[in-house]
Symmetry: C2
Subunit: 488 residues, 2 copies
C-alpha cells in the first residue's frame, strides 16, 4: 500500500465508524425507535453529519498529495477519486447554502404531503420554486461542463450527463411506445387481475417472504429483514445488511416484490470484497448500479415465468385464496401491464415513461427553460402523450412523488439507468432461465459478484460497466428484453 | 447561562451525539444485530470511543476557565464537575495502559467463561492477576486519598470511599445475619416453592409483562421493550428509553422481575429534566443511585404483598398453571429466602452478603493485602460464614461473575448502595403500601422525579441524597425494611 494512502486509510477509520453509526441510526429510525425519539435522533444525526464532513475535509491536503503520487493501483486510485468527490462537494457548497437547503427541505415535505392530499399544486409551488433556485445555485457552485443539470446528475450517478440521458430516452421512448401498444393489442398480459383484490393474513405472507429469502439463500448471520413504512436496504457493514418490507394486507405482489427488490440491493452490499471494508470504496458505487441490482432481482428474475413456477407451491401453501389460481394466473398477475398514472404502481413496460417525463421536467427546471408554474400542464401533456392517460388531478399527477420536496434533483434518472443496466446484465446471462428454473441462485450471485459487487466503488460506474460488459448504458438490451418477454 | 458554559455546551453537542450513537450501537448489538456484524460493530465502537475521548479532552482549557468563573449556578457547576471528572480520567491514564486494559479485558471474558464451565480457577488466575495489576496502576495514576481502592470506587460512585463502605457493611452484616437466622427459624418464607418448577409459554408470559408495563404506565411513544440474553436498560434520549428482558421458559419470576427492575432504571432516565438533554449532566448520576431506582421498583414495590395482589388477576389469566395457587402462594414464591451460592439468584435478605464478600476481596486485591491465589478459599470461607454454605466448586464460587474479567473493580459495592438507598427512599414514603394498593404509581413516580430523577447528574450522589432526604448511605433503613417485611 502506498504510504500516503495508508495514512489516509488510518485517518479514514473514524469517518467510516461515524458512517456506520449513522446507517444504524437511520435503520432504527424507520424500524424500532419509539416515535417521540425523533427529535433527539434528528439532532444527533445532524451533529454527526457535520462532524463527518469536517473529518472528510481535514483529509484535503493528504488526498491532494496522494493524487500526485505515481504508480497507484486501481484500489488506491479509487480511494483518491471517491474522497476527492466528497471533498469537492463540501468545499464547493457554502455552509449558508447547505443550511438553507436543509431548512427548506425539512419543511417542504410537510407542505407537499398536505398539497398532495388536497391536490393543491399552488400550495406547494413556492417551495418548489425556492428549492429549484437553490439546486441551481448548487449546480453553479459545483461547476459543470455543458448543461447545469450535469452537476446534479453527477451527485447521484458519477459521470452521467444530459447528453447520455437524452440519447437513452430518445431510443427508449419510441421503442417502449411500440411495445406498449402491441402488448395492449395482443391482450395476453392483462390490465387488471382478480388476485389484486384478495386480502392476505400478514403472518402467512411473512412466512412466504421468509421462504423467498431462504430460496435466494440470504445469509442468516449477516442479514435480517424487518418491517417499516417504506421498504429500504441498509448495508451497515459487509456482515450486517438489513432490508425491510411492509404489509398492506392486500395485493400480495407489493410486499413480495419489495422483499426481492431489497434483497437485490442487499446481495450487492453483502458481496463487496471484504478487504474494502472501512475504506472510502467499501460501498455500492452509485444509485444507478445499485438500482440495477434490485431491479434485476425484482423484475428480470422475480417476475419471470420460471420464478413464478418455483415459488408457486410456497404461495399456494400459505395463501389459501390461491385455490383455483394456477401458475399461469400468478404469472399474469405479477405482470399486469396498465397505464397507471402513478410511478410506483407502474409495470416494467410503462415504468420508464414516468422517469422520462420527470427527467425532461428536471432538465428544464435546472436549465431555466421551464418554470414551476408550467409543471402541471407539462406533466399532464407528457402522460397523455406516453400513456394516453390524463391525470384527473395534480395529486395523481405532478404532486405524486416526495423527491422534489426533499431536494432530490438528478435522482429519478437513476431508476431508468437501473432498468437499462439490469437488462445489460441479463444479456450476458443467456442461460438465466435455466439457472432460475434449477434454483442455481448461487451461480447468479457469483456472476454478479465477479462482474460488479466485489469492486465496491473502486471504479466509477461507467468504467465498471465497460470493464465487465464492454459497453455502458445501451438501452437496446432493455427494449429487446421487454419485447422478448411481452411480445413473444 | 454563563458565556463560557454556553461555549462548552455548544461544543458538547457533538460529544452528546456520539454518545447517542454509541448507546444505540450497544442496544442493537444485544437485540437485533445479525451475529456476524459483531466484528465491524466492535471496531466502529472503539473508533467512536477514541473520537469521543479526544473531543472531551479538547474541552480541557474551556472547562478550566469555567471552573474559575464566579457566580455559577448549580446546573453550571454540575456541568463543570462532570466534565472535569471525564477529563481527569482521560488525562491521568496513559494510552498504553488503557490499551493494555482493553486488550486483556477483551480476552479475559472468553477464558473466564471456559474456566467457569470447567470450574478451573487456575486457568483464569493469570488473567485476573494481570487485570488486578493494571487496575492498581489505574488507581495510582488517578490518585486517591486513603485507600487506593477509593480511586476505583469513585469511578462507579462519585465520592464513595472505603471508609463509608466499611461503615455500611459493618452495620449491615450483623443485622442481616440476625434477620436471616430468624427468617429461617420462623419458616413463613419458604426456601423453595413448587411454582419455581412450572414451564411457561413465552407468548403468555410476554403478555403478562406487557400488562405490567401498562400498570406502571410506561409511556408508549418514548419507551420500548425487547428481548436479549441479559436484561438491560438504555437511555438513548429522554424520549427514547429501552429495556430488555429474557424468557427462560421456567420460573416466571425471573422475567417478570427483570421487567420491573429495568423499568425502574427506565423511569429514572425518562424523568430527567428535558432541559438537561444534550448536556454533560443529562444522564443518571451514578451506578448506586441508578440501582436504587431499579431495586426500589423490583423489590420494595414488585415483591410487596400489595403488588402481588394487584397483578394476580393478570398472572392468573395468562398462566394456566396458577390454577390452585392463590395470591398468598405467589407472594411466598416471589419472596423465597434461601442461602443460594449464586449472587444473581439471591433474595433480598441474603443478597448483600454476596456483595460484602466481593467488596472485601476487591479491597484486599487492590490494597495489596490479598493475592489472587488466596481467592477460592477466601471466597468459600466468607460464604460459609455468612450463609452457612460452602460452594461445591469454583464455578459456583469465585468464578460465578463476569465482572472481574471485564476489569470492573469497584462496581459490585454499588449494588448494595442501591439496596441501601432504595430503603432510604421507602422510609420517606410512609403510605407506599396504600399507593401501590390503589395503583397510584403516577404519584410514586412524581415523588421520585422531584427527589432524584429530574436533577440528572447536576449534584454528586451524596449531595443529591442529602438535599432530598437529609441523609446519605444509612443502612438502618434497609435493616428495618427487611425486618418489617420478613419478621412481622
Amino acid at each position: 500500500m502506498d504510504p500516503v494512502i495508508q495514512q489516509i486509510l488510518d485517518r479514514y477509520r473514524r469517518i467510516w465508524a461515524l458512517g456506520h453509526a449513522q446507517l444504524l441510526m437511520g435503520w432504527d429510525l424507520e424500524t424500532y425507535m419509539p416515535e417521540e425519539g425523533v427529535k433527539a435522533r434528528s439532532e444527533a444525526s445532524a451533529e454527526l453529519s457535520l462532524l463527518r464532513q469536517e473529518l472528510i475535509l481535514s483529509l484535503k491536503d493528504l488526498v491532494e498529495k496522494a493524487d500526485k503520487r505515481e504508480g497507484l493501483d486501481d484500489l488506491e486510485k479509487g480511494i483518491v477519486r471517491v474522497l476527492k468527490r466528497s471533498i469537492k462537494f463540501y468545499s464547493a457548497i457554502p455552509p449558508d447554502l447547505l443550511r438553507e437547503l436543509d431548512r427548506i427541505t425539512s419543511e417542504a415535505p410537510v407542505v407537499w404531503r398536505e398539497a398532495k392530499r388536497s391536490s393543491d399544486y399552488p400550495k406547494f409551488r413556492p417551495y418548489l420554486a425556492k428549492i429549484v433556485d437553490l439546486e441551481r445555485q448548487v449546480a453553479e457552485k459545483l461547476g459543470y461542463e455543458g448543461h447545469p443539470y450535469n452537476a446534479l446528475l453527477d451527485l447521484y450517478e458519477e459521470g452521467f450527463t444530459v447528453r447520455e440521458a437524452d440519447s437513452i430516452f430518445s431510443t427508449l421512448i419510441p421503442g417502449l411506445k411500440s411495445t406498449f401498444d402491441k402488448v395492449a393489442e395482443r391482450g395476453y398480459f392483462p390490465s387488471s387481475h382478480p388476485l389484486e383484490e384478495f386480502q392476505y393474513e400478514v403472518e402467512s405472507m411473512a412466512k412466504v417472504n421468509q421462504e423467498v429469502l431462504k430460496l435466494l439463500d440470504m445469509p442468516k448471520g449477516r442479514f435480517r429483514m424487518d418491517v417499516s413504512a417504506h421498504p429500504f436496504t441498509e448495508g451497515i457493514s459487509v456482515d450486517d445488511v438489513r432490508i425491510t418490507t411492509r404489509y398492506e394486507g392486500k395485493d400480495f405482489r407489493a410486499t413480495l416484490f419489495s422483499v426481492i427488490h431489497e434483497s437485490g440491493h442487499a446481495i450487492y452490499e453483502l458481496q463487496i470484497d471484504r478487504s474494502l471494508e472501512m475504506t472510502p470504496v467499501g460501498g455500492g458505487v452509485s444509485m444507478g448500479i445499485h438500482e440495477s441490482q434490485s431491479r434485476f432481482w425484482e423484475n428480470v428474475i422475480g417476475r419471470s415465468r420460471e420464478f413464478v413456477f418455483l415459488i408457486y407451491p410456497t404461495l399456494k401453501e400459505h395463501l389459501t385464496f390461491l385455490e383455483g389460481y394456477g401458475e399461469e394466473d400468478v404469472y399474469k398477475y405479477f405482470n399486469i401491464v396498465k397505464p397507471s398514472p402513478i410511478r410506483v404502481d407502474a409495470d416494467e413496460v410503462t415504468y420508464n415513461f414516468h422517469i422520462a417525463l420527470r427527467y425532461e421536467i428536471e432538465k428544464g427546471l435546472i436549465g431555466g427553460s421551464t418554470d414551476v408554474s408550467d409543471l402541471p400542464s407539462m406533466w399532464n401533456d407528457y402522460m397523455d402523450k406516453y400513456l394516453h392517460y390524463r391525470p384527473r388531478n395534480d395529486g395523481e399527477g405532478v404532486l405524486q412523488d416526495i423527491h422534489w420536496s426533499q431536494g432530490s434533483f438528478g435522482y429519478f434518472p437513476t431508476y431508468t439507468l437501473g432498468n437499462v443496466v439490469a437488462a445489460l446484465i441479463r444479456s450476458h446471462l443467456p442461460n438465466l432461465r435455466d439457472l432460475v428454473r434449477e434454483r442455481r441462485f448461487t451461480e447468479i450471485k457469483e456472476f454478479l459478484r465477479e462482474k460488479i459487487h466485489k469492486y465496491g466503488s473502486i471504479y466509477p460506474p461507467k468504467e465498471l460497466l465497460r470493464r465487465s460488459f464492454g459497453e455502458v448504458y445501451n438501452p437496446a438490451h432493455l427494449l429487446s428484453y421487454l419485447s422478448d418477454k411481452y411480445l413473444r
